[in-house]
Structure formats: C-alpha cells, structure tokens
C-alpha cells in the first residue's frame, strides 16, 4: 500500500499531474508536499476571498504546489516561483503546461531578485523549506541535497527566509510554511510574533519519523 502515501488525502481538487517529475533532478512530491496541498485545499475559501494579485512560492521544486494553487485560484492571480536548481525551474514549466496553468519560475536565492519590487506585494507566499536536521555544512550544497538539508535544527535556510517575509507580504498577505517538530515551531511562532505576525496551525500529519505541520502567518 505504499502508493497510498503518494496521493493527497482529500480528493476534492485533484492532485496536479506530475508523472513527468521523475525525468528531472528535482525533489519528488512526497508526504510533506501532499500535506501542504491538503492544507491549501482546506484554505481554499479563505484564499479565494483574498482575491490575490500576486502569489509567490519560494523553493518551488517540481512546481506541483504552485500548480495546485493556480488550479484553486484561476487566472486572476499571477504566479511566480523561485528555486536555485535549474532542473526544478524546467520541471516547473512542464508541470504548469501539464496542468493548464501558468507559473513563472526564476532562478534565484529565496525571493532575492524579486525584492524590492515585491515589497508589501505578495498576497500568498508559500515555502516548503529544506527542513531536515543535518550537519551545518550539508546546507546549500548544489544538487538534490539542497532541497531537504536544513542544517542546525533544520532551520538554517528558513531563518534567512524569515527575514524577507515582512518585506514581502502585503497587508492582508498570508504565508504558508511547512515545518517539522524538530524545527522548534514554538520558537518560530515567537520570531513571527515579534515581527508582528499571528501564527496558526492549519494541519498536522505524522509520516514515518516526521511530525509535519503547516503553519499559517498573517499580519496582526
């Protein structure tokens, strides 16, 4: 029954087509990805009511999350995404095409080259970061390891991203972030509290040794 793990639990909005992903050197959709899709599906009424103009996914990998968001929200939103991996950006273009949506990938570190233009402009921000606890030197190496290796507390990449969030989010903007228990979610909540954000847990799921959580942040 291993294949069961490779589908979203809720099936109201179909899982994006992603059978081309294995042709690319990119992180394949896994339990963390599907939990994020389920969380976005749960949030769909809220997201539609936001009427977002700009959505940005940082570290998009295969692009299935942005494709799913675009399927929910339609063509009244512009979808941008970033990755450091050329193969991920190429995969993302194919994922867009396969799912009849348009996502605009850019190769850049986190959201860097979208600043300052995206200052207070991003209405929906999504990050499924490299969250796995690893030795510090494994972070940011090239290749597929960079998609999961998170260094100390699995937080090394996340912490750099956190500093960009207040700059990026519009007044009513929302951030969805994937974390595991080892990332110290209480500490993350406190960091965002001090930056003026409220935190909510949208969904949790145990997957093997990982206790996954989808955190949602909005301005107070």
């Amino acid at each position: 029954f291993a294949w069961l793990r490779h589908f979203k639990k809720s099936m109201e909005i179909p899982t994006p087509i992603y059978n081309h992903v294995s042709n690319y050197d990119v992180y394949e959709p896994a339990e963390d990805t599907f939990l994020l899709l389920d969380a976005l599906e749960k949030e769909q009424d809220y997201l539609k009511a936001l009427r977002p103009t700009i959505a940005l996914e940082v570290g998009c990998g295969s692009g299935v999350v942005s494709a799913f968001l675009a399927t929910i929200l339609g063509d009244s939103t512009a979808y941008f995404c970033t990755d450091r991996n050329q193969s991920a950006a190429s995969c993302c273009v194919e994922t867009s095409a396969a799912n009849h949506v348009t996502i605009n990938p850019v190769l850049t570190d986190l959201s860097t080259s979208f600043l300052p233009r995206f200052e207070h402009s991003v209405d929906v921000l999504i990050f499924n970061p490299p969250y796995v606890v690893t030795p510090p030197h494994e972070v940011e190496v090239n290749g597929i390891t960079a998609s999961w290796a998170g260094g100390v507390d699995g937080r090394q990449v996340m912490n750099r991203f956190f500093k960009q969030v207040p700059n990026l989010l519009s007044n009513r903007g929302v951030l969805y972030l994937v974390v595991i228990r080892e990332n110290k979610p209480d500490e993350i909540r406190e960091i965002f509290n001090e930056m003026g954000f409220l935190c909510e847990v949208v969904m949790t799921r145990r997957s093997g040794p990982e206790f996954l959580m989808i955190l949602k942040f909005v301005r107070k």
């Binding site: 103009t53 850019v106 850049t108």
Partner: protein, 131 residues
C-alpha cells in the same frame, strides 16, 4: 479547452526582477537582450490586468517593449481611467502576458553583469563573490 504549452519568460516577470550584485545601488530595470522572442495568445482577463496595473512599473514595461523591438504599442503613461479603458487594458495584457523571451539575457543596468535566459527561464543566481 486550453492547450498545454511551455511558457517562456514574459515581460510581467521582467518587470519584477532586480539585480543584486554586490555594491549595486540601482539594479532596476534590467536591460533585455533578446535572441529569440515569440508571441503567444493568452486569454484576456480584464479584472486581472486591472488589478495588476497597480503593481507594475509602467516606464520599465514600455522600455522592455522597446528592448524586444515592439515600439509604439503602449502609451507612455497609465491613463487615469485605466480600469474602464478596455483598449488600454488589452494593450497592457499583450505586453505583460503575450510576449515571451525564449533565449537571451538580462543585464544589470549598473554593472553590466549578464543573467542568461535559457529555455525561457531567467537565471538570476549570483556567485559567492558577488553577494
């Protein structure tokens, strides 16, 4: 039924990108050198274009159009009543959504650092010594 197709870098993306090479004070807008450009029709959504106009740097868009060889297609300024000006919204839609750059490069206006566009994807990554 919409056709599935691979989308290359459009001018809406160019409008959002800035060069952050170390020491650069103003890395915007990026210059465009387009080797291969194509036009591809996209469904016109006036609500979306109207919303998007408030997030667009208009002078950068008109300049981008010139740099890809499409001159005199856009007014120099956004009209005051743009939300109801369908003719304007269609022109803006065309510029933002329908012109794609398959290959070429974007370059930093201050340092000239070139960021390649390959297979329709802009590569803005910097080397360690440039950050």
């Amino acid at each position: 039924m919409r056709l599935s197709r691979f989308v290359n870098m459009r001018l809406i993306t160019h409008n959002m990108l800035t060069s952050h090479v170390k020491g650069v004070k103003n890395g915007y807008p990026l210059l465009i050198t387009a080797k291969d450009v194509k036009e591809q029709e996209v469904d016109f959504n006036p609500d979306f274009v109207s919303k998007m106009i408030t997030r667009i740097e208009w002078p950068a868009l008109t300049k981008a159009m010139e740099m890809v060889g499409k001159t005199d297609l856009l007014p120099t300024e956004v009209p005051k009543d743009y939300e109801t000006d369908n003719d304007f919204l269609k022109k803006a839609h065309h510029a933002l959504m329908e012109i794609e750059i398959i290959s070429g490069c974007l370059s930093c206006p201050e340092t000239g650092r070139e960021f390649p566009i390959t297979n329709g994807i802009p590569n803005m990554l910097l080397n360690e010594d440039e950050v």
